[in-house]
């Protein structure tokens, strides 16, 4: 970069001091709403997806997540239901009136995924795929930009800069853990980066404690910690039968655990100056 110029011309607070608030499907990210995305890691079947969607809808969740095209370390692992998965996501989301977040695994799949989703997710493995980022900067839907597991905060914000520079100002950052020497958990959730990014940038930041930790028993504690750290929202994996999940079962909350977590977040988010959408009504429903 040229000497003296700001590193983040568009993503930085320098160019836009006030928080960016993104409106999407009747919800907001980056404002007073605690924006919670929940659902299974991967769409596996109609029965699985509808049971989970029904359950998460009963709490203060705004959006449904679910992978249709799955990036997997081994070519011999389940690769997702692909277009059938997108169809199922659409049906479940319409039935329960939720928005959809799903990943675009490659630029060549953008046209396929675009019509089905409200937010285009860029996975951790693609955060440094700059050609892809430029192309997404030309789209008109909000982008959920996951942090690369090997990305510094600077590289993460510069990835957002690529999208903003293309013309799309609706970028939601998502911290999902980085790689460290301690492999007891899947990754190391870096919550200090949330506070740092809120200081450097006006963009909203949410946290994915499921991918970050890979371990169900710590997901609720990390969700609460994320909210206390100032995150604008959460992305949480929930499964009706995690033992039989086709991908990432060990990190998915069981439905009752998730319901309990949302109750806890109701109290906690008030202390943090956020609130769950329609939460009063929702909490009555849960009773």
């Amino acid at each position: 970069m040229a000497q003296g110029e700001p590193t983040y011309k568009l993503a930085g607070r320098g160019s836009k001091p006030q928080d960016t608030v993104i409106d999407v499907k009747g919800h907001t990210v980056g404002g007073n709403e605690l924006f919670v995305i929940a659902g299974p890691c991967a769409v596996e079947s109609e029965a699985q997806l509808f049971e989970i969607t029904k359950a998460v809808k009963s709490t203060g969740v705004s959006f449904l997540r679910g992978g249709a095209f799955k990036p997997r370390t081994s070519p011999y692992s389940f690769q997702g239901l692909k277009e059938e998965g997108l169809h199922l996501l659409q049906q479940a989301a319409q039935t329960y009136d939720l928005g959809i977040v799903t990943e675009v695994m490659d630029l060549s799949l953008l046209d396929t995924v675009y019509p089905y989703t409200d937010i285009l997710q860029i996975g951790s493995r693609n955060m440094k795929n700059y050609h892809f980022l430029k192309a997404l900067g030309k789209t008109d839907k909000p982008i959920l930009l996951k942090r690369g597991m090997d990305a510094t905060v600077e590289e993460w914000l510069l990835a957002a800069e690529y999208i903003l520079n293309g013309g799309n100002e609706q970028v939601i950052l998502c911290e999902r853990g980085i790689r460290s020497f301690d492999t007891t958990l899947r990754n190391t959730l870096d919550l200090a980066s949330v506070a740092l990014v809120k200081e450097l940038s006006h963009l909203p930041v949410i946290v994915d404690p499921s991918q970050a930790t890979g371990k169900r028993s710590v997901v609720s504690a990390m969700s609460k910690a994320a909210v206390a750290a100032g995150a604008d929202g959460l992305m949480i994996e929930v499964h009706n039968e995690p033992e039989d999940a086709l991908s990432d079962g060990p990190q998915s909350l069981r439905i009752p655990q998730f319901v309990k977590l949302m109750e806890d977040l109701e109290s906690l988010s008030k202390v943090s100056g956020k609130s769950l959408p329609n939460s009063e009504m929702q909490m009555v429903d849960l009773g």
Copy 2:
């Protein structure tokens, strides 16, 4: 380890399912009290120490911290006031009725430090000094065991095991950040380890967000996140004039910032099932 034997014979929940609660100087660590230790990184002078101690006392702080012997990366950096520092700590703590936590940098300094402190701190750099750990297992004061910046959770708990195995059951674990590839902040605060350790072990765990991040502006957010994650307490660096601090000024909270944080923790800790000691009275005093 022999096949089939538990890794943590003494530190694990297997041998002792219920939480260990440590009584020290009229306070408890590991129970319902949010145990907050605050003070300067290093004891620098009587004026500095007394001003900081007076300020932290006015909030719900239980213990005073302050380094007298300082481990520094360069031999040419300030190495601490040594025994004079210990004397000053004692005077300040007595004047304001606080307990003392200070580091024993080497086994050869144990006899010097022991009479002055209520809790013996083992620094991050010594967490794998097993000969030292064995010797501390023979002492009768609580041990604050900081996690090594290169230590896995397993290695950290096994370090505690060394102390417990020597006969001292009063071990307080302290997460203080680990090293990762992202050096934007000083270290990477690993809050998921707090939740994990609470699951694996009955020992109390506190968090040091100052050492972990090295950056004042994120310390308050990380303190709140730590409490929401289930930490039993906090260890926070506070300075009256951080710009002139002889060590670690950039990570020390200013006094008004610290007072504000303690007010926030008052609300937050209630949600988390903890409370600050005498907090009602303290908060009145602050008004």
Copy 3:
């Protein structure tokens, strides 16, 4: 993966004990030849490229490298000459009778890059872009698969497995450094992974000490270490005027340094059981 099945069905020694030797443009990778790729980080101009190509040709180099589409951390950095860069690479390679290695930054650029290059390079940032890997498995040119800077050896071999599983058996692995807490150098060159991969897999492995270290003064030592560790080749950045390079100048060898390195490799590779192609003649030319 199913219990009992090998992790690497195709990339592992289990399915193919003998070394894979890849023939490309009159050279071999994985056999007795020390396969050296050299050239600038990025193609910048005809004059720059031809001067460098002429110089590297005079040593025992087999292939010319040069980036036409450049993945850059900031959108405001030089992004490469794109198709003009590919044209120049082709001209320089034809003039000096060398093969070409250049990166395909995105699947959507494959058709553009394919006709110009003899080996299709997958950059570090794309190693986990599985949709892309599958597509490259359907091509008929050798693939240079750089290790992701956050990839374990297992993930790297499984990325190769994706390509092999698509039908393309010509995969050349390239170690280029991983991220660690020590950022003194650009990355941490992991030479033990070379020895490990040679044990686990039959695929050839080369090393890129320029990207790995980011520092000219250690590139020659690391090139020699790579050969002694058993690498099948090297990929080295060379520049005629590194101070004026548009990308990665600090890690590019000056031409005289590169000539000296090739002389040293001539002796060293004999000890290691490899040899530079036509090296006797070449060395005479240098005299």
Copy 4:
């Protein structure tokens, strides 16, 4: 550090441009000799130690290694034979006319270990124990300073600076791997740090590929790579029956593997401008 002052007043090339060559027991470290230390991880018994010592003596080894006090992650693992181990080391070294390197695990053990050893080893876990380093700066024997597994190159050189600043100029640095996210091998051997340290400092640097990798099958390749990278020597674990070793058996070379490695190093070190001591004679003996 004060602005403008060199970071490494004593360890840097600025204060002493020429290489430091340390004379110890008829050998030199840092000059033309390839200084090889070999022996078991831990002294286990007279029979074990003598068999290994006899074998390593028959090659070009200069010094015998062997742990008497062992730092172990678990308090329930073998902790070394302690003083009995020191006695055995002394007997074996005298019988086969070798020097001794063994670790001082704590300052309180210095007086115990000092009389037995020719070189005082500081283990990786103690590299940041600054009080200990200061004390060793007051001794008159060469210090083998292992790099901390979480230490940057700067911190490693500043640890040496502590010793030099105390008055002891005989510091031998030893790279032994750092922690990274890839835990396939025990640590990540950072050979680029060897080249970097040789550039920044006049102190000799050796490499321990056994501790660095934890895996016998890659130790020989990494030993050769270290020599090609410019290391002044090696520290290698050898065992007569590694399957039955009480500590670190999987990383110990079998005796025939070690003999073969020393033959390979004979050729390689000539190319690198070093030679094994009395190697001609030794090699004849091996025939």
